[in-house]
């Protein structure tokens, strides 16, 4: 239904813009985008801007549809379902660096900017250090009930249910196994931002780089069974997790049938690593 949609940006609403900015810069090595003013802006790939820290907006996840008609169809479905959403006017679109967009909340309260035409930069992405980052790949969200939220994501927004692990739900839009994961939690919010890195080499290089700087590694290095994704979750300010990932599986959306991985720790990491200090990451 939303073939080709991807996660275009993540906006983090916070009172500690400086702390987050320093972490994204010095620890993760993302490229600074100028013009942020009181906000901190970063990019991770060909797009103009993929990560924003701001004190004057709520957090939101930007999901880009490839065609304007897809956005219109989603708006129609939301209207038919009686759900409120906000259409971004020109000024709001300019602030988000998109052509069109609407803002809606999922049943847990996660704010989603459904957009079309996120801006691309004329210049190549160049990280601040050799982090091997290829780009923003996906997001893990906290959900107060993934099962209750599933119809919203699947039937209204058009995501495919790819797999479940315990009550965790993996959602995809195209051949990439998943882009959005919903983790059961006592609240809504962004749990982790997934950045694709080149390969295992870079996941491991990042592991040692971050550990040497006392950045807590909350989970990994590991391999997620459902998606086959190699991951390393590093914790930034306010518990925000940066998940460096590689080898996320490509699947055939027409053939793939959702699987139910059992509710135990091996369903989150087939290498046997265990999460530390993040309750959403325990099965």
């Amino acid at each position: 239904m939303i073939e080709g949609a991807d996660v275009a940006f993540v906006r983090v609403g916070t009172q500690d813009v400086a702390g987050h900015g320093a972490f994204a810069s010095e620890m993760m090595g993302l490229q600074v985008v100028t013009g942020g003013g009181d906000q901190a802006w970063f990019r991770s790939d060909i797009r103009r801007r993929t990560l924003v820290f701001t004190s004057d907006d709520s957090s939101s996840v930007g999901i880009a549809l490839s065609r304007p008609e897809q956005l219109d169809r989603i708006a129609e479905r939301l209207r038919d379902a009686g759900l409120n959403f906000e259409t971004h006017d020109r000024a709001a679109c300019d602030r988000l660096f998109v052509r069109k967009g609407i803002r809606v909340s999922d049943p847990s309260g996660n704010v989603i900017d459904l957009v079309q035409g996120p801006h691309h930069a004329g210049t190549r992405f160049f990280p601040q250090r050799d982090n091997g980052i290829l780009g923003l790949e996906g997001v893990a969200l906290r959900s107060t009930s993934p099962e209750r939220d599933l119809p919203f994501w699947r039937d209204l927004l058009g995501f495919d249910l790819r797999d479940r692990a315990g009550d965790i739900v993996y959602l995809g839009t195209d051949r990439l196994h998943y882009r959005i994961a919903l983790y059961p939690s006592d609240r809504s919010g962004i749990l982790a931002i997934n950045f694709a890195v080149e390969d295992l080499e870079l996941v491991m290089q990042n592991k040692y780089f971050l550990e040497n700087r006392q950045v807590p590694i909350r989970f990994g290095p590991g391999r997620q069974p459902a998606s086959g994704q190699i991951f390393l979750m590093a914790e930034g300010p306010e518990g925000l997790l940066y998940s460096l990932v590689a080898e996320t599986a490509q699947i055939d959306p027409k053939q793939h049938r959702p699987r139910q991985f059992s509710a135990d720790q091996h369903s989150l990491c087939s290498w046997g690593s265990k999460a530390h200090g993040v309750s959403e990451l325990k099965l």
Partner: protein
């Protein structure tokens, strides 16, 4: 010149044969091929055995290499003899205890006990691991040397090893296309520093890292990647202080005539390009 074909087996004395056997099977993942008298034989691949623990002194360590045939064995014995290296011919009983047809034993210049063996036994039965470590076979050893330059000359001039790369004075030497079968590490006396088994994939390395660490096996280096051989590795402590290594993806040196050994400085990134550092317990 003594033509070494491949590493063949390692023999290690131990005062705790049961403990060593438990480690070799439940932690390392090898298969018990046979228990005979005071010895336990372990398999890691299609060979009859590649590791033997026997009741004895932990300092009683041997590494064996296979040579082509009986003629090559006699020629090797002769070469060593003429160089005034003491050579012992294996008895029938000793050969049987090594599951080989024949062998000679000598000491390298540092004093490491080396055996040259012919017709090591192969097993008709497939190797079946004790745990899912992904082991594909015994691959190489690290030996202590009291003089890396002198010992490199021995292995490359008296024997047929070639230096693939060096880290400081440490030569990594090959006897076939595999980047290294013998690595020398400096010390004040002889000994085997590590025993390497190859595993199937990076996943195996990372799985074993968690499996072993969860069971309080001491991880002494890694998970990491050697810039020299390209292999992804994990080193951990076994019985009597022996270091065991899993690795995968060791480079092959195809261009025998053209390959020039590289010189890496003796610093951490020469040992691991990912950034891991060896613990003090990695070596004496």
């Amino acid at each position: 010149m003594i033509e070494l074909k491949d590493v063949c087996y390692a023999r290690l004395g131990t005062r705790d044969l049961e403990g060593a056997t438990t480690f070799a099977t439940e932690f390392l993942g090898l298969e018990v091929a046979e228990r005979r008298g005071d010895s336990v034989y372990f398999r890691s691949d299609e060979r009859g055995h590649t590791l033997c623990y026997f009741e004895g002194d932990p300092e009683d360590q041997t590494v064996a290499f296979e040579v082509e045939d009986e003629a090559a064995l006699l020629a090797a014995a002769d070469t060593l003899d003429r160089m005034n290296h003491r050579v012992e011919r294996g008895t029938v009983d000793e050969s049987s205890r090594r599951k080989v047809k024949d062998f000679v034993a000598f000491r390298d210049p540092t004093g490491n006990r080396i055996e040259l063996a012919v017709r090591p036994e192969r097993s008709g039965k497939r190797y079946f691991a004790t745990r899912d470590a992904g082991i594909t076979g015994f691959s190489h050893v690290g030996l202590y040397t009291t003089d890396p330059v002198r010992d490199e000359a021995f292995w490359t001039q008296v024997c047929n090893a070639r230096v693939s790369d060096r880290i400081g004075d440490i030569p990594l030497m090959r006897v076939n296309e595999i980047h290294h079968t013998i690595a020398l590490l400096a010390s004040d006396k002889a000994g085997v520093q590590h025993i390497n088994h190859q595993v199937g994939s990076n996943d195996d390395i990372l799985r074993s890292y968690n499996f072993l660490a969860d069971r309080n096996v001491e991880i002494v280096f890694g998970p990491g990647r050697h810039p020299t051989s390209g292999a992804r590795f994990l080193y951990f402590k076994g019985p009597d202080g022996m270091v065991y290594e899993y690795s995968v993806g060791v480079d092959a040196i195809e261009d025998e005539d053209g390959h020039q050994p590289r010189q890496f400085g003796f610093e951490p990134t020469s040992l691991c390009k990912w950034g891991s550092k060896p613990q003090p317990t990695f070596r004496r």
